[in-house]
Every structure is written in structure tokens, then in C-alpha cells.
Amino acid sequence: MTDQLLIAARTAWVEREGTVYAAPLPDGPPFVLAGAGAAIWLSLVEGGTLQEVAQRVADDVGSPAEVVTADVATFVAGLAVAGLVVRRAVPAVPASSHD
């Protein structure tokens, strides 16, 4: 099994001038995600594993994935506590299935 990260279904968010404002619905409150926080959020939009999200962030900020992964993991954990992100366990795809 592998953990897929997804923006929670009951979440509203708006991006303005590089800053993301995200809120759990229906009660809020809104959170502001600026700078790297916004980059991580926008990398989460299409979902994926932590490694995939970290790779997108790394590509976005121009750093190696191994440098940003720990920070991305910590930030994503905070988003999960706030109810903005959920983890969904899905069966790992066997390498042979790509053949």
C-alpha cells in the first residue's frame, strides 16, 4: 500500500498573486499559505505520493528533491491536522504492470 495525498473534499481555496488562502469547510478558519507553503499546496492539487509532491516542489524551487522532502512532509502533516489534506491508502502498483 502507498499513501496518496489529496486536498480534502470539503476545502475551499483561492490563489491570489502567489499566495494561497485555504479553508476547511464549512466552518473555517481560512489559512494563508505564502511562499514555499503556496508552492507545496499547488503541488498537491493534482495529488500523489509524498515523493511525487516533493519532486514537484523541488522542480518548482530548483532544489534537489532530497533537500525539500523533509520540509514538505512536515508541512503536509500540518495541513492534514488542519483538515485541509487527507491521506488515502491505495495498492502499490507493481513494477511489472508498467511493462
Binding site: V14, P26, G28, F31
Partner: protein, 286 residues
């Protein structure tokens, strides 16, 4: 990640639309989002992002939505019958989202609110607000809603800024379709008020109500017109009673604190006295 204390107002309003939609979904109640970011871009004027959320609720679902809003810490600031002379909207406030106007009907379309809502709902579109799908009236119906609103908020010395994109600049075919929609929702007279054709309805009791907004008048004029327009003794009695009621919310704003019973009673007496004085001032023998 920082909990926001300074979310820009347009962003907060857009997120608030999404929050209200989430509760409407939970309650199973149909709502149409109007004004502010719900309005089609081409129909907006100036920096019309709005300062609050406005929704029209299917009348049969109003009680259920209001109950769920209360459960989720939306505080009622003014009740439906304590706001305008139209009795159309309740104003609510939420610490996270700000202000919300829940319309149980829309001024001008208030003769048969259930039919008017169904007419708007049947041709609705959808717009994503805060990445949440929200139902909105189709663009022509949005124009009608904005025009009816403009009729209640006259711009002295100039046309209301909503008039050009929603009426003057529209094609003759569009204007005809808006007229047809107004006829179907009971808003013909109100639309005439918005577009400068109220004279065509002289003598119509409903026109008298809109005359107050278009030509100007005080609260006594407004209530008098509402009284004349009300259909039947019960409706007239209701208007007369409500004209004398004290709006606790506005009185609280004036006083700077929640009014006491004594202060409400004093304000009530003042309103009656002011009403008598205003009426007396208009008697022909004075």
C-alpha cells in the same frame, strides 16, 4: 502555515460563498449565489467583488438552511422581518467568513417567490468559487437581479453603474429576453423602475413602492407605499405593524451596545411619535 488575520476581503468573500454552499449541500437546500464574485465578469461594474455573500434560497428550504447556519455559528444580525420594507433578507455574521445575506425572495420578484426561484433555478449555471461549484442564475437572469437591485439603490445625478452592462449595452434581443424573464417572475414593474420606465405604470400600487426608491422619499413614504401595495387586509395589517417595530440590530449600532428592553421600548415610542408627527405634517389643513 499561518492562520489568517488579514485575508483580503475579496478572497474572504469568495471562500464564504463556498462555505455557504457546503452548508446548503449538507441541508439539501437549493441556493443561487448572486452578486460579487458570483456575477459573470462581463456584467460586473467597477471593482464589484462585493463585501458580503448574497444567496437566494428556495423558499421551502429557508428554515432548514437557517437552522444549519445557526448550528455552525452564523449569528443572526437582522431577521427577515426586521430589515428592509421588503422583508426579503436576513443578515448573518460568522467569525471566519464575515457577512451573509440570505434572501428568502428577491425584491421585485416577491409576488410568488417559489415560482420565481424555480424559474431562475431551471436555467441556472454554475461557477467555481473557492474551487467549490456554486449554482448561479444564467447571465440574463443575473442582469435582471442586478437591475432590480439597482432600482433600490439609486445613484443621484447619474445612472446606476450596473445599468450599462446589464441593460443599455445589451442588444435589443437581450433586453426583450430580460423583459420576458421579468414578466415570468412578476418583476415587470420593478424592471421598469430600474430602466427609467416607471411612468408607464402610474396608478399601479406596486409602482408606488418603487417610486420611493427612484424619486427619493423617507421611511414613511416607503412604508406608506408598501401599505398601499400589500394585497388584502392581513398583508396590510402586517405592513402597518412592522413599520412600527424597532430593529434591534440597528438600534444596537446606534447605541454602541445591545439595547435593553427599556431602550427598545423608548425607541418604539419614538417611532410611533415620529410617525404621527410625519403624518400630521402632511395633513392638508396644516
Amino acid at each position: 502555515m499561518t492562520e489568517v488575520v488579514d485575508v483580503p476581503l475579496p478572497v474572504r468573500v469568495e471562500l464564504a460563498h463556498a462555505a455557504v454552499q457546503a452548508l446548503a449541500d449538507e441541508a439539501g437546500v437549493d441556493v443561487l449565489h448572486i452578486k460579487g464574485p458570483a456575477v459573470h465578469r462581463g456584467l460586473r461594474t467597477h471593482a464589484q467583488s462585493g463585501t458580503d455573500v448574497d444567496v437566494i434560497v428556495r423558499p421551502s428550504g429557508v428554515d432548514a438552511l437557517m437552522a444549519l447556519l445557526a448550528e455552525h455559528d452564523w449569528r443572526i444580525e437582522t431577521t427577515f422581518d426586521a430589515g428592509s420594507a421588503f422583508d426579503h433578507a436576513a443578515n448573518l455574521f460568522h467569525e471566519s467568513w464575515g457577512m451573509l445575506d440570505v434572501h428568502r425572495h428577491y425584491p421585485g420578484m416577491d409576488r410568488d417567490p417559489a415560482h420565481a426561484f424555480e424559474r431562475l433555478w431551471s436555467s441556472r449555471g454554475s461557477v467555481e468559487l473557492g474551487h467549490v461549484p456554486c449554482a448561479v442564475p444564467e447571465p440574463l437572469a443575473q442582469s435582471l437581479v442586478l437591475l432590480l437591485h439597482s432600482a433600490r439603490t439609486p445613484h443621484l445625478g447619474a445612472d446606476h453603474p450596473d445599468l450599462a452592462p446589464n441593460w443599455t449595452d445589451r442588444t435589443p434581443q437581450d433586453r426583450e429576453r430580460i423583459r420576458a424573464l421579468a414578466a415570468d417572475t412578476g418583476a415587470t414593474v420593478a424592471l421598469a423602475a430600474a430602466t427609467g420606465h416607471l411612468d408607464e405604470y402610474q396608478g399601479d400600487p406596486e409602482a408606488a413602492v418603487w417610486e420611493v426608491f427612484v424619486r427619493g422619499g423617507d421611511r414613511l413614504d416607503e412604508w406608506s407605499a408598501r401599505f398601499r401595495a400589500a394585497r388584502g387586509p392581513r398583508a396590510k395589517a402586517s405592513v402597518a405593524w412592522r413599520s412600527l417595530r424597532v430593529n434591534r440590530y440597528y438600534l444596537g449600532l446606534k447605541l454602541g451596545h445591545t439595547p435593553t428592553r427599556a431602550e427598545v421600548a423608548a425607541e418604539s415610542a419614538r417611532r410611533v411619535a415620529a410617525g404621527v408627527k410625519a403624518v400630521a405634517g402632511r395633513l392638508p389643513w396644516r
